[in-house]
């Protein structure tokens, strides 16, 4: 009988999985199973750092394509997959969720959602990924629905309308699963929505709490909006945030105030636009906030994923929340209080003389958009953007894919009409400039530059660091690995398609893989046959 059991075990397919179950505790303790990538940033701390080191500085040059998954759609692929026990959960723009075998790229199932034709989108029919919790996959759709799918079949379990797409709401970011809730933001910063962050019951889809990112009349902060401008002030929440289990705090960044480039109609600081919010994960109650760009007039969203970092600064142990902001400044905050600790420019910027003791920028005159155009660094794409930066505890460095680029900012009409663009201007490129990019390694406590790897053009793609001493990143259509200590190039691959996505890494059958979406495909790399 013993032999029979052994024979039966051997007869099972190699990819036989344990029953699919990702309870909250697995995501909380993601570091204990680095072979999986259980949430948008790999773990709750937003570091996009992997403990895997099978691929490392000594063998990265031997990386080869393991498989390619073609996306038969023309929209930009921005997905950052989740990897669970040999299965990848991805989104394909504009309307699909798929489960793929992580070793071969072959699909298990596809869910397709029929979308209305009259979506209100500023920036393409894109999606950045899913969340998993228990035995379900969660996806937020372009028509602003939160959708729960059975992780084994892709069948719909429930769908809940987050908001009305016809007035400019949409969802593009990956939800965040926290305990028994699914937290999801909303896009629509160019349509004059009133932004919010929502939490839904993972089992039923019932909304548990909503935090409006613009306070209503009578609430503290509403006085930072002139007149009724708060009603159309935007402050969306379109990129996935971070979570700290020890304090049960969700950290989530907010986007630009609306209209983007015409601040005349919304005098004041415009809270909580361009702000880091610390919220109680159970109730959505605000613990603190820090506004990076009061009264933003350049569309410098602060929505990108922050990194939660425990480190020693100036001999003192610190609990930091750090971010290379689109406005050109790097910020290190105390994440227990939201207090400003340090900050400095990490790219060229010409709009502020610096940050004061509280971290508030001191704005320079004549830098606001004008009808004729005002030349300002950085451009509206920012010093960095929504794509991932990464922090490596191994090097204690924060890595960011920067853009050295300016723009002429124009102020235009700002007339609100529900469901139509509410920009109030825009930008025009500076014809006398040769913009460039770089991967920069910053001291995490101060933002001081440690090294840079210069790139021909600015990137619009994320980074990931690993315990193998690597930083993976992209530029144009190239995907590459740098030495995390010194910044030297170790490996590169020409994918042939523009990369607008974040990398992930995972293990399947004892082998480490690295994945990036490029062009209209997913490229997955592993070691060659020599045994990497």
């Amino acid at each position: 009988m013993k032999n029979l059991a052994l024979l039966l075990a051997l007869a099972l397919p190699l990819t036989e999985q344990r029953p699919f179950d990702v309870p909250y505790e697995r995501i909380r303790d993601a570091d204990k199973e680095p072979g999986n990538w259980l949430t948008y940033s790999g773990s709750y701390n937003g570091q996009r750092y992997s403990l895997l080191d099978q691929i490392n500085t000594s063998n990265a040059h031997r990386l080869r394509v393991a498989w390619v998954h073609q996306v038969h759609e023309t929209d930009t692929v921005e997905t950052s997959p989740v990897a669970v026990d040999g299965i990848l959960y991805i989104t394909e723009p504009p309307d699909k969720v798929m489960a793929l075998d992580a070793r071969t790229g072959r699909s298990y199932w596809t869910y397709r959602r029929e979308l209305p034709k009259d979506l209100r989108l500023c920036c393409g029919r894109v999606n950045r990924g899913v969340a998993v919790l228990g035995d379900a996959v969660y996806y937020a759709s372009l028509d602003a629905y939160l959708i729960a799918l059975d992780a084994r079949t892709g069948r719909l379990r429930w769908q809940t309308r987050i908001a009305d797409y016809k007035v400019g709401h949409s969802s593009t970011g990956a939800p965040l699963a926290v305990k028994d809730k699914i937290i999801t933001g909303v896009a629509g910063g160019e349509f004059g929505i009133r932004g919010f962050l929502d939490a839904y019951d993972a089992k039923t889809g019932r909304r548990v709490w909503r935090f409006y990112t613009i306070p209503a009349k009578g609430e503290p902060g509403n006085e930072t909006w002139a007149g009724d401008s708060w009603k159309t002030g935007s402050a969306p929440t379109w990129v996935t945030g971070a979570y700290e289990p020890e304090t049960n705090t969700v950290y989530w960044g907010t986007g630009n105030p609306g209209p983007d480039w015409n601040g005349d109609v919304r005098q004041g600081d415009n809270l909580y636009s361009d702000t880091m919010l610390a919220l109680d994960a159970d109730t959505g109650q605000k613990r603190w906030h820090f506004q990076y760009t009061p009264h933003d007039e350049h569309d410098w969203d602060s929505a990108q994923t922050p990194s939660l970092v425990d480190t020693v600064v100036g001999g003192q142990p610190r609990k930091l929340i750090v971010l290379a902001n689109r406005n050109g400044f790097y910020y290190a905050l105390d994440r227990t209080t939201g207090g400003f600790l340090a900050g400095q420019p990490y790219v060229k910027q010409t709009w502020a003389s610096g940050l004061d003791e509280a971290g508030r920028p001191t704005r320079l005159p004549n830098t606001a958009p004008s009808v004729e155009g005002t030349l300002v660094w950085p451009s509206l794409s920012g010093g960095s953007n929504w794509y991932s930066s990464t922090y490596s505890p191994k090097t204690n460095l924060y890595y960011v894919n920067v853009k050295e680029m300016s723009a002429y900012y124009h102020q235009g009409d700002a007339e609100y009409k529900a469901g139509t663009l509410f920009n109030g201007g825009g930008q025009r490129e500076n014809p006398n400039e040769e913009p460039y990019g770089a991967v920069r390694a910053l001291d995490v406590g101060s933002g001081t530059l440690r090294w840079e790897y210069r790139l021909q053009v600015p990137s619009h793609a994320g980074l990931m660091s690993t315990a193998g001493g690597l930083v993976f990143g992209s530029n144009g259509s190239s995907f590459f690995a740098l030495d995390a200590e010194k910044g030297g190039l170790l490996w590169r691959f020409e994918t042939g398609g523009g990369i607008v996505a974040n990398p992930i890494t995972y293990m399947a059958e004892g082998k480490q893989y690295v994945l990036i979406a490029a062009g209209h495909a997913l490229f997955v790399f592993s070691g060659d046959s020599s045994g990497l």
Binding site: E372, G373, G412, E415, R428, V457
Partner: protein, 255 residues
């Protein structure tokens, strides 16, 4: 048949809406706003007075790519695919119409006539100037310089004159002359066709294609603003120059 009245009604409503949508404003304040927007967004290429530059002159009643007001608004909003004309998506629909109204007002400004004889200009182009050695018109000619089949639609006469007498006065950003020096010491000069962080592709001035990994290069010189075209200032007389420009201005996209 019961549908016909409904369809006619719908068409009437649609036509009315469409007309309303593209009706250009005529108030003085709209034209002033349109001019301000024009100076910020358009004048760099089309000239501060609309007399052209890198882009064509707008001082004419019939614009090649904008036969009516609706088409003009669309060009301002979306740009022209495959050309250097970008769309102004950052403007609101009302601002598109204000700019269009200002552009239309320019057509009432008399354009400076282009002197010269295009027929004689064509002979100079093919003969004394040897222009066809580098430039192609309707598929005939060299590949080194930009194609000129519709250059009269794209460039003003003043811009063409400057390009011929002082080719480096304004070299389009899409053209970049590079000189690369390989670690072996070999030097190649040509037009950059492509470049990323790791490699560069170019065509030398004999038409040969080259690709280099940057790790194999000792130097890369990007001669922004440089042109391989010589100045024809002293080669042509004033009258010949007028004739040549008249010929180039006459080159328009076939309809």
């Amino acid at each position: 048949m019961r549908l016909l009245p409904l369809l006619l009604f719908c068409f009437a409503v649609w036509a009315g809406e469409s007309k309303e949508k593209t009706k250009l404003p005529s108030r003085r304040s709209d034209l002033e706003r349109g001019e301000k927007l024009y100076q910020g967004h358009c004048a760099l290429c089309h000239g501060t007075r609309g007399d052209g530059g890198r882009g064509p002159s707008l001082l004419r009643r019939r614009l090649t790519r904008a036969s009516d007001d609706a088409a003009l608004v669309k060009v301002i909003e979306e740009g022209i695919n495959g050309t250097e004309m970008p769309g102004a998506s950052q403007m609101s629909p009302r601002e598109h119409r204000q700019v269009a109204a200002y552009v239309r007002s320019l057509s009432r400004v008399p354009a400076t006539p282009v002197p010269g004889d295009p027929k004689r200009g064509e002979q100079l182009y093919l003969g004394k100037g040897e222009c066809a050695g580098c430039h192609a018109i309707n598929g005939k000619g060299g590949t080194l310089g930009p194609e000129l089949s519709d250059v009269g639609d794209r460039r003003s006469s003043a811009y063409l004159r400057a390009s011929i007498t002082d080719p480096e006065a304004d070299v389009p950003r899409s053209f970049l002359q590079v000189r690369v020096v390989a670690k072996s010491g070999r030097t190649i000069t040509g037009e950059r066709l492509n470049e990323d962080s790791f490699s560069i592709q170019l065509r030398d001035y004999s038409g040969n294609l080259h690709s280099f990994l940057k790790q194999d290069l000792a130097e890369i010189h990007r001669d922004r603003g440089k042109s391989p075209m010589p100045s024809y200032k002293d080669k042509f007389t004033g009258t010949e120059l007028d004739d040549l420009i008249a010929y180039l201005v006459s080159l328009r996209e076939a309809k």
